[in-house]
Amino acid sequence: MTYVLEMKDMSKKYGDFLANDRISIHLKKGEVLAIVGENGAGKTTLMRMLYGLEQPTSGEIVLNGKTVKFSGPLDAIESGIGMVHQHFMLFSDFSVTENIVIGHEPKRNGFFNRKAAAEKVKELSEHYKINVNPLKKAGDCSIGEQQRIEILKVLFQGADIIILDEPTAVLTPLEVEELLKTIQFLAEQGKSIILITHKLPEVMKVADQITVLRNGKVTGNVLKQQTDVEQLATMMVGRELQKLTDRIQLDGDPLLVVENLTIGGKDAKPILDQLSLTVHRGEIVGIAGVSGNGQSELIQAIAGLRKIDSGNVRLGDSSFSGKTVAYRRNAGLAHIPEDRYLWGAAKEASVEETGLMGYYRKRNFNQSSFIKLNAFRKLVRGWIDRFEIKTPSLDEKSGNLSGGNLQKLIVARELGFETDFLIAAEPTRGVDIGAMEYIHEAIIEKRNNGDGILLVSSELSEILTLSDRIAVMYEGKIVDILDRNEATEERLSVLMAGGNENEASTKTTTTA
């Protein structure tokens, strides 16, 4: 059995964090291998090593029987590996042709022969049945077209192994069909494809072999005929349930009402598609879903950080239409952001300053514009004790705290506002078990007090532990809302991956 590519026991460590733990994959010529897993499972890290953008801590890459080492993307490209990135690496001002041939430009007498380039691109495009307009500016092309440019680019570079990183995340259903056809055609032409994705229905359509990753390890390796969406979802998501905390039965009034929220959708796939949702007082609504299905945009729209195209958001009696972030926070909104470094803190600011955000305006900490720092410091020290935030002092730069400790600070800050409504996005990302349980307790307590919480998490166990109701988001829509007692991991993971619950089992009993 000669494989065109083997990655053997690949490990990658970032400081103390093990992103890839002895992962092995193999790929035959003309085969489509899908690597599936949730965000943070380690898929992208693995591919970055294959493409030469990262160096493995240990492990071996074997190409056509020969061990290779890539010091950079150029090595990988020259060895016939091409990567179509999740976030396109295009030059919007350059033409489609220029984008495809860059790095391997055809020359004539030392000059760039653009005419020959256009001809070659036309040939390539016809041969692989990938449709592009060679003269259009890349920036004017649709997302689907841009992806085709990226694919033609790697083919032009002579790639025999093509890596596609979450290729369908931004495509409309029609464009997805086209892409899957292209993938099959390329495989028939002898190209070997690695498809990184979390979209299981597509995997079942086009993959020959599937490797499942979770938390940096391989949790399963199967052939398509032997499995189905349900089984794959289980392997992707795992079973780690936390012990439940007591909850009081409350039948609260509607608190946050989202109606027909829409973002985008004119020429491209809508980011949010007529989304409606209600969070009641004394309720935790959890949004389950793999990152990238519109959850971030939903949160930003509610918090006031992103413009919407249509629909409205209401908190209690206050309409949020056209209102500023400050207004919304005053109306009773607090927000634990999903990216603590981008939104939740300033790395150069001190711990005290990061904690101060929002409080500096409040009457009990502000006297004729002067901030009552001493009073506030007492508050922060209280947070540090309760949440066990490890920091040498209040003046320590926020960026020097470990991710988990910064997260605890942000959670303490946002809970401290004691608002009616809280958005909690990935609230325990990067946090240790003890703190995670403390934060979960605090969130349940807030719920029991009669406040409403919108929880967004890519950790299914967290959603299941905390939520009263669970809404699953897929491709900008809420595909279903389940009550906590009817939700199981299997049902949720199927919905999260785009399947519907009526998918029949198609696995056979033979093993790989």
């Binding site: 919007s92 790095g103 430009e105 000059f111 760039f112």
Partner: protein, 308 residues
């Protein structure tokens, strides 16, 4: 006070001569901008070239060597800039300002250290750049005197614009330089030699600014005066911005600025306020900024990015 007296031939001739250092430096600046590094140190680079050219001329007696030394001096200064901005990731704006200060001090210092004079150095034995009389063209009535009889560097300036145009839009290396400036991350992911291209652009900028400086100190009167660039480096920067870092655009904007400059001087003789004509290039550029895209400086350099 007729318009004939205002715009006679010598007016245009001097305008063309005065444009050339601006044109050369602006082209150099465009190279840096296109590769993604906003170079405000043009002033210092030109001055370095001007001084080095005089030094070269004095010690070798040859104008050709002088010009080469001029280019060399400017290249050294530009390498310092490149090192700071690329290797040490200094803020390019601050690094450029530092270069300006440094060169100003060093050249004045050099006047003292090498020639033992203050203020200016002039030696009547030094030969300046020759005036090239182009055989056929000088015979053409009216235009002939305009186009012929300039120093070689003036012709090189216009030639450089054409060469740069061909470089950017017809060669592979030029294409890659443009790519680096447009999307550095994408360029790296392709395996393009980004750092090499950046240093290359900076060195080329040094050469062009060196020639600009040589034109200043050897082109009309052969002498070096302290701070003789007198803001021309910044005017070149503005010409670059107005010309959108495009070689032909820069020829246009440089011509515009040169004409305005010459006009101001003429108007002084007619006791009209010169400041308003002097202001025009800048006001025009500001208005242009409303309509043009981010050619002057990369969006990552401007607005929300402080040096802290």
């Amino acid at each position: 006070m007729t318009s004939m007296e205002l715009l006679d031939l010598s007016f245009f001739t001097s305008a063309i001569r005065m444009i050339s250092p601006i044109l050369l430096a602006a082209l150099g600046g465009a190279l840096c901008t296109r590769v993604g590094i906003f170079n405000v140190g043009l002033e210092g680079l030109i001055l370095a070239g001007a001084f080095s050219a005089i030094v070269g001329n004095y010690f070798s007696g040859s104008v050709l060597v002088a010009v080469l030394v001029g280019a060399l001096g400017s290249v050294l200064a530009s390498l310092l800039f490149g090192l700071a901005a690329i290797r040490f990731k200094a803020n390019p704006i601050v690094a450029g300002i530092a270069i300006n200060f440094l060169v100003l001090g060093l050249t004045t210092f050099g006047l003292r250290a090498i020639f033992n004079v203050k203020g200016a150095f002039y030696d009547k034995n030094m030969e300046g750049l020759p005036k090239l009389d182009i055989p056929v063209i000088e015979g053409i009535p009216v235009v002939g005197n305009l186009l012929s009889g300039h120093s070689p560097l003036v012709y090189i300036a216009f030639l450089a614009a054409i060469v740069l145009y061909i470089f950017f839009y017809r060669t592979v290396t030029g294409f890659r330089v443009l790519a680096v400036g447009k999307n550095e991350a994408a360029a790296r992911s392709l395996g393009l030699k980004v750092t090499l291209l950046q240093y290359g652009a900076i060195v080329a900028c040094g050469i062009l600014c060196g020639l600009a400086g040589a034109q200043l100190s050897l082109g009309q009167v052969t002498m070096f005066t302290e701070g003789m660039t007198a803001g021309r480096g910044f005017i070149a920067l503005v010409a670059m911005m107005l010309g959108q870092s495009h070689p032909i655009g820069i020829v246009g904007s440089s011509l515009l600025f040169g004409l305005m400059d010459a006009l101001s001087i003429r108007l002084q003789g007619f006791s009209m306020p010169t400041q308003f004509t002097a202001m025009l290039p800048y006001i025009i550029t500001i208005f242009a900024m409303f309509f043009l895209k981010d050619r002057g400086a990369d969006s990552q350099l401007s607005g929300q990015q402080s040096s802290r």
